[in-house]
Amino acid sequence: MDAKYIGKATPRVDGRKVVTGRAEYTHDVRLKDMLFGMILRSPHAAAEVVSVDLAQAKALPGVLAALSLAEGRVRYAGQQVAAVAAVDERTAEKALGLIKVDYKVLPSVVEWEKAREPGAPQVREAKPNVEKFSEAARGDVEKGLKEADAVIERTYRTAFEVHNPAETHASVAAWEGERLTVYDSTQNVHGVRDGLARALKVPAAGITVIKHYMGGGFGSKLGLGEHTVVAALLAREAGRPVRVALSRRENGMCVGYRPSSFQTYKAGIKKDGTLTALSLVNYASGGIDYGDEVLEPAVDLYRIPNVKVEEFSVFTNTGAGCACRAPGNTQGMFGLEGLMDELAAAIGMDPLEVRRKNYTTRSQGDTGLPYSTKGLDLCYAAGAKAIGWERRNRRPGEGSGPVRRGIGMSSSLWWGTGVPGTLADIVLYPDGSVEVVSGTQDIGTGTRTHMAVVAAETLGLEPKDIVVNVGSSDYPWAPASGGSVTTPSVAPAVREAALKAVARLKQVAAGKLKAKAEDVLMDGRRFFVKGAEDKPVAWADVCRSLRRETVFHGEAAAYPQDQYAFNTFGAHFAEVEVDLETGKVRVLRYVAAQDSGRIINRQTAESQVVGGITQGLSAALFEERVLDSATGRSVNPNLRDYKIATSLDIPEIEVIFVDVVDERLNILGAKGLGEPARIPSSAAVGNAVFNAIGVHVREIPMTPKRVLEALKRKEAGS
């Protein structure tokens, strides 16, 4: 593609608005007569709600609505019990204090390790705390292990990671008769609309969900939130708009987190690096809901003939986990890629060579469909070159002195190939202006900008010429912004609509030029016939001739999923320094190579990758929800004790795109990027630490405590 904008760096079309504070986030929405809603939450991890007395709260001047929300039993500390709406936040807070709840406290279990024990309090009614929820098998693992020259067994653990978006969950609900409008901080305006219709038993056709600007979601805002329903119910009762914006404390207690994992692998490898067998048993915990399946990397990434996976979810009296930027694969990649480096060490081979040795061009470890495109090998080569892979310790931990350096890497594997049926419209106006509309949402990733880029490229305009409208459920359908599907879903739809618009414009121009439409060329806001560039008709004249606004529909097409496997890939490389006395890890340099098909906007794509690395580095070193074992209450539901990387913790980052265009996937050959950039980043840092100190910490976050414990494990020779 000879492109002017696609694949180049375009600054965000809304960047100025955001950095000057004029972008309206859900937290900023202030409607006329709007009330402030607040939610009372259970202090107990398990209890029977005997009664909820709202009388005193309702009697407080300024309180206009109060609701009881508890249905019999609460199963985690932080579960909603009642709610109020009042003229201001202080009155609402005071009213919460006046609600009388009579709890009958029940036995509870907070730690998943304890929930597994016989006799542990039962979290779900009539169901055990441990439930197998995922399995896979091929070949014969026992036989495979016998063929190996080295067999190792290792357990890798990942923590409960809280999303902590800059903007906490928030909804503002307003009724006009039976029509409901909800401003919501959401990744999914259509999904929230449909969810509200079900929850409130009102027609979806009468609900509009709006999200203009978003301060992050990372998977925690993919569906209808309980607080959103509360806002709508309070608004209905009060007859006035109601805003419910969760506090940072609530964010840490009741809107989800990345479920933990406890992955035990047993694997065999031959001296030449050939993998012979792998077994994985995972215990995942997602509180009162299922944990994440982590098996995908283990069954898909390498050519392993014999594989067996069993995954169990362990239920506890804690809030439900939810999708967190690449659910499952992030945890699984930390385990699998840690294992790969330990296997490589066991046979004294370059870990990157082991990965290349077991490379597959078909999914499911050579037992499935061929990948339509797979640029992982290119990522390996480009990343290794950029980081200086040859500088790593040949033997993990072979350096000397109190501060050790190491280099490690990890692969990335994800889907992110788009949702057929995604809609986008191009609207041409008689005055020559252009609008692109889709019911997607820009969750901070630059969706508006990539839509403007594709429309401008196709229509021969500049991105700033395009008016982009997104973030309303009244616009043409687009999927939730999750799963890294937004760009590969929306960009092809915009492209298709824009191509139709170009065809129509050429047709109109042809009439004016007295030529055939197929002979008309478009360039720089002009239409002309080849060879007669000096006799053009102007863009404005052609648009004027349309006489009214004209809408062109675009739709993302299906792709041959029955013939090919479509995935995104990447390889990340980290260089770290570890202080052996203090256990402190510092990441010194980082290289990310991504295969996400054709890159639409290099600038926002690089931002995505930097964000994914920042998040993964932060999870690798700092982030961990800590719960009080007795009460199930989070002791760090804030940004002081729940530690997120600061700018001083982020090293120089080099981002490489290998630009493998997948022509079969969509008309732009574009794939997703948001999650692929997060998946390998904790694992790469973990492996770099292994390379530095000669022992794998095997648990994130790799706090000073855990690094020092790992070093002791090394001393003890285990």
Partner: protein
């Protein structure tokens, strides 16, 4: 947040009179960087907030022949940038720049830093009534305690969060405490109280008293100092363990030395055992390590915080060796 009244005295006399007269529960507010957070969360619920920012004469640094007088309302950023501090007490500058973030240092004050409340996550939970808040139990003792005290705990296992206090104590700083009843000066070291003395407070400040100034004696010839702060993140993090060391080293021998650890005990922890081992002897890495070990011998870690002993030992060793 509970409703409160606010008072804004203009002079120390007004302030002293106000504190003497009021029967209400009082919170003194200097920079307010932490107090406002505590008020909003409900952990602090005073009837009266006394805003010290308008009180004349409480801010500023005055170098004198015998030492440096630091007003408690001096901003931490101003302390770090003060020419006399930079010249005579670089350890104070190091400690000041190690704490919080530039934004917080621009607003936070020296006095506020010295009198700040602990960050124990149970204490900071508005719904938990721990011993420090007048309750019956310390929840950290058998609960989650990776950041808690390894020394000096007992009934309460907070760590004192100040970075300035260990540095100032190592320099032999004294504080003037004032009230309507008069003024008194005491070593900063004695200003702090272990939970075994009064679990609800971290300092000896009476309910009618306020901090009037901080005095740092002039440096002795050859005096050096170092502050080593071990934290998890690159910035905006309290010390998991820190060490302030000040002393005079001549020809590799420490003639005078003071060692104070931060982040490991409910008060800034003076390490006299370590000082004795080092005083008068050639400072070597082995001796510094031995001194650190001696100072931590009495430690009794909880279930999740034994690693802090290793960090504290490393901090002390590194700070001692930095004097060479």
């Amino acid at each position: 947040m509970r409703e409160f009244r606010i008072a804004q005295p203009r002079t120390v006399e007004e302030l002293a009179a106000l504190l003497a007269e009021t029967k209400e529960s009082v919170a003194l507010m200097a920079g307010g960087t932490d107090l406002i957070d505590m008020l909003k969360s409900g952990v602090a619920a005073p009837d009266l907030v006394v805003d010290l920012q308008g009180v004349e004469g409480l801010a500023g640094i005055a170098p004198g022949k015998d030492g440096l007088r630091i007003g408690p309302l001096t901003r931490v950023a101003a302390l770090a940038a003060d020419p006399a501090v930079v010249r005579d007490f670089p350890i104070l500058k190091e400690a000041a720049l190690s704490l919080a973030t530039p934004q917080l240092r621009n607003v936070g004050t020296v006095g506020g830093n010295l009198c700040q409340r602990p960050r124990c996550w149970y204490f900071r939970d508005p719904e938990v009534a721990c011993r420090k808040k007048g309750g019956m139990r310390c929840f950290a003792m058998r609960g989650r305690n990776k950041y808690h005290a390894v020394l000096g705990g007992g009934g309460c296992f907070i760590v004192h969060p100040s970075d300035l206090a260990p540095a100032l104590i190592s320099l032999g700083a004294a504080v003037t405490v004032a009230s309507a009843r008069g003024e008194k000066s005491l070593p900063l070291e004695d200003f702090y109280r272990l939970p075994s003395v009064d679990v609800t407070r971290e300092t000896s400040l009476g309910r009618d008293e306020f901090l009037k100034d901080v005095f740092v004696p002039a440096p002795k010839p050859g005096q050096k100092g170092a502050y080593v702060k071990l934290k998890e993140r690159g910035t905006w993090d309290f010390a998991v363990a820190s060490a302030a060391v000040s002393g005079v080293v001549k020809g590799g021998v420490a003639s005078e030395i003071a060692i104070v650890a931060g982040g490991i005990a409910p008060v800034p922890w003076r390490m006299k055992a370590a000082e004795e081992i080092l005083r008068g002897k050639p400072v070597t890495e082995a001796l510094a390590a031995r001194a650190a070990a001696a100072a931590l011998k009495e430690a009794s870690p909880l279930a999740e915080n034994a690693y802090k002993l290793e960090l504290a030992a490393a901090a002390v060793k590194r700070a001692v060796l930095a004097l060479l």
